[in-house]
């Protein structure tokens, strides 16, 4: 099998906790993304989605594990040797208000990555920034304006233009829609879908919003307490969730047309404290199917027996 565009394997990350101890933010995460493919990371607050995104794009150095881009192992590279490869992985963040420098004009914001990577001369950089902004629906006059003059949706377009100006191979988008109004979210989601088709861009799309994920993802990775607990093609995940947590998550999403909520269907308990994760499977204290083995041994993420190899689940008793 040929090497995928982007692959992480066994990625782990800890952070020191205030008052001693360590927070296990990411444990043994592995996935691959092909060119033109979108993988979505879903899960609830504190599940490790953002840590995984930032570790996979080497904003954080992993404690363990491998990050490979087009066959090159990036974790082995020095800071300096890594820099040219960073061009290929660009990020868009949740908050389009905090992520744009308020003192720079939009033209300079979008051209800045070109400056950092020493691409072209001022005139050429300017032209590329203008071209990039135009392709995202902004106007030539917008180059001279400041971020505060734009709406949230327009700012997120500016942030996307900045990310794309280096022509990356992988776009990592961390909750890019959640600060925006619903109607603007729909427009931006369409835009991201168009970009993927036009540029053959691979995307790691982080969201807690399953409706947005349903619209854009090819495959979905579900995270719980720092682990990927299920990885499946989108349609299969929604139609036949295999991990009890995925099932609980999908069942908890409010839906129209289902009538009033049936009592007793909400998942029990809360996510465990990452400072003191439970033994064995991290979901076992909340899991309706938990047995003795679940308290003792953590199930690895592996191909589901009898299913396609694209379906992986970390559960001793998957459905």
């Amino acid at each position: 099998m040929s090497e995928p565009l982007f692959a992480v394997a066994g990625l782990s990350k800890h952070f020191p906790a205030r008052g001693g101890g360590r927070i296990t933010a990411l444990v043994d995460a592995s996935f691959a993304i092909a060119a033109g493919e979108t993988l979505a990371l879903v899960g609830e607050s504190g599940c490790g989605k953002t840590t995984l995104a930032r570790t996979a794009s080497l904003l954080y150095r992993p404690d363990r594990g491998s990050v490979r881009l087009a066959g090159i192992e990036l974790t082995a590279l020095s800071r300096r040797a890594l820099k040219p490869h960073r061009r290929a992985i660009q990020l868009v963040f949740q908050d389009p208000f905090g992520s744009l420098n308020p003192r720079l004009r939009v033209g300079s914001i979008v051209a800045e990555p070109l400056v950092i990577h020493g691409v072209g001369r001022a005139r050429e950089r300017r032209a590329r920034a203008a071209h990039q902004l135009a392709s995202l629906g902004l106007e030539a006059g917008d180059l001279e304006r400041y971020p505060h003059e734009f709406s949230g949706g327009q700012r997120q377009r500016i942030a996307i233009a900045r990310a794309l100006v280096l022509e990356p191979k992988l776009l990592v988008a961390d909750e890019p829609l959640s600060a925006l109004d619903v109607s603007v979210q729909a427009q931006l989601l369409e835009l991201l879908g168009d970009l993927r088709a036009r540029l053959g861009l691979a995307m790691l799309f982080i969201s807690h919003d399953l409706a947005a994920v349903d619209r854009i993802a090819d495959r979905i990775a579900v995270m719980y307490l720092g682990r990927i607990v299920e990885l499946a093609p989108r349609a299969e995940l929604f139609a036949r969730p295999s991990h009890p947590y995925t099932q609980a998550l999908l069942a908890a999403v409010p839906r129209l047309g289902a009538g009033k909520r049936k009592p007793g269907t909400a998942p029990k308990g809360e996510v465990a404290d990452p400072l003191a994760p439970p033994s064995g499977c991290p979901f076992h204290p909340r899991c309706p199917k938990a047995q003795a083995v679940c308290r003792e041994r953590e199930p690895p993420l592996e191909a589901k027996p009898g299913a396609a190899p694209t379906r992986r689940v970390a559960c001793h008793f998957p459905d």
Binding site: Q187, A252, L256, A258, G259, G264, E270
Partner: protein, 338 residues
């Protein structure tokens, strides 16, 4: 206690628990009085949940505050009445109102940190309400506060009662807030976006908790949310707010089967349907052009007329009243058969 333990049984329409009549709320502004709520009338029976849905600025939270006479000054109730069990709130003095709040009417907000006192433990805050309204001794109130925490599904309630609000997770804080609201077994619970800040699995738990408690106590709930799907999971009847007006009020089943007001239709069409890659987004089908008008710049006639696909000249001249179109169903639109 004044409570009826029977859930789901509406009293005859003649004696609703809550009656709101032609309620209007204004806030003075430099450019003139800003009418945040205008001519809102409805009734709510015991044991029933009314879901109030609308965008930000529609007046749904102002309505919730007006029910408890909690409009922050210089805002005020301009006209209209709120009656609880036949008692008009405007006729009550401050002391009588204070006695009513937290006892017969309780409110739960989106962010419990703003409603819980950061310098008292959870247990102390619930016990205080019980001493005040139920004339319990310290020891009785303390024991009852722990029981109240246990009833909302908080594990180790004796320990958690000694925690300060900041020591609890968001879901736990909202449970504690609900425990406090329910401690005196109110007749009416007003919940303003109570789950909006929570993750979906915790949201599902809180919604179940509210419905279970309603089944046990028979209280009425006014549940305010911008999220139509959440409303569909809790409501027996639905009220749609737009620019300070109630534009549709209907039984939930009928409403979700066929919303009648053009704005209700657009709102429902804009809810994404999840599953199997067929999620439909507002962007494709139901996006409503334009924005809800500010109360300072209302269009003449129907307030939705400048965005409505059905609007004609008459809609732009005369504002339609909320009128009955079917039993229990009212719509404010000239284009809906009446």
């Amino acid at each position: 206690m004044a409570l009826e333990p029977v859930a789901g049984e509406a009293r005859p329409a003649a004696a609703p628990l809550l009656a709101v009549e032609e309620l209007a709320v204004v806030f003075p502004a430099r450019a003139g009085p800003l009418t945040a709520l205008d001519g809102v009338s409805y009734r709510l029976a015991r044991g029933r949940t009314l879901g109030i849905v609308g965008e930000s600025g529609s007046g749904k939270s102002v309505l919730a505050l007006a029910l408890l006479n909690l409009i922050p000054p210089p805002g005020r109730i301009l006209r209209g009445a709120v009656r609880l069990d036949g008692i008009e709130l405007a006729s009550l003095g401050d002391d009588e109102l204070a006695a009513l709040r937290g006892d017969r009417v309780a409110i739960v907000f989106q962010e419990p940190m703003t409603a819980l006192n950061p310098v008292f433990t959870i247990g102390e805050q619930i016990a205080e309400a019980l001493r005040l309204h139920r004339r319990m001794t310290h020891a009785e109130a303390r024991a009852e506060a722990i029981a109240a925490l246990a009833r909302v599904g908080i594990a180790a309630p004796g320990l958690r009662a000694r925690d300060y609000p900041h020591q609890l997770s968001g879901g736990m804080r909202q449970r504690a807030m609900i425990a406090m609201a329910l401690a005196c077994e109110p007749d009416l619970l007003v919940a303003d976006e109570p789950t909006t800040a929570l993750d979906v699995t915790i949201q599902a738990q809180i919604l179940e908790l509210m419905l279970e408690t309603q089944g046990r106590l028979g209280m009425a709930i006014q549940f305010v949310s911008h999220d139509m799907a959440v409303i569909s999971e809790v409501a027996d009847e639905v009220g749609v707010m737009y620019a300070g007006r109630l534009v549709e009020h209907a039984p939930a089943d009928a409403f979700f089967a066929e919303p009648l007001h053009p704005y209700s239709r657009a709102l429902i069409a804009s809810v994404p349907r999840i599953g199997g890659g067929t999620t439909r987004w507002a962007g494709r089908t139901g996006r409503i052009p334009g924005q809800m008008p500010s109360p300072m710049r209302l269009p003449p006639g129907c307030r939705f007329s400048d965005r409505c696909p059905l609007a004609d000249a008459a809609c732009r001249e005369v504002e339609p009243a909320l009128e009955q179109v079917a039993p229990g169903r009212r719509v404010a639109c000239f284009k809906v058969g009446r």
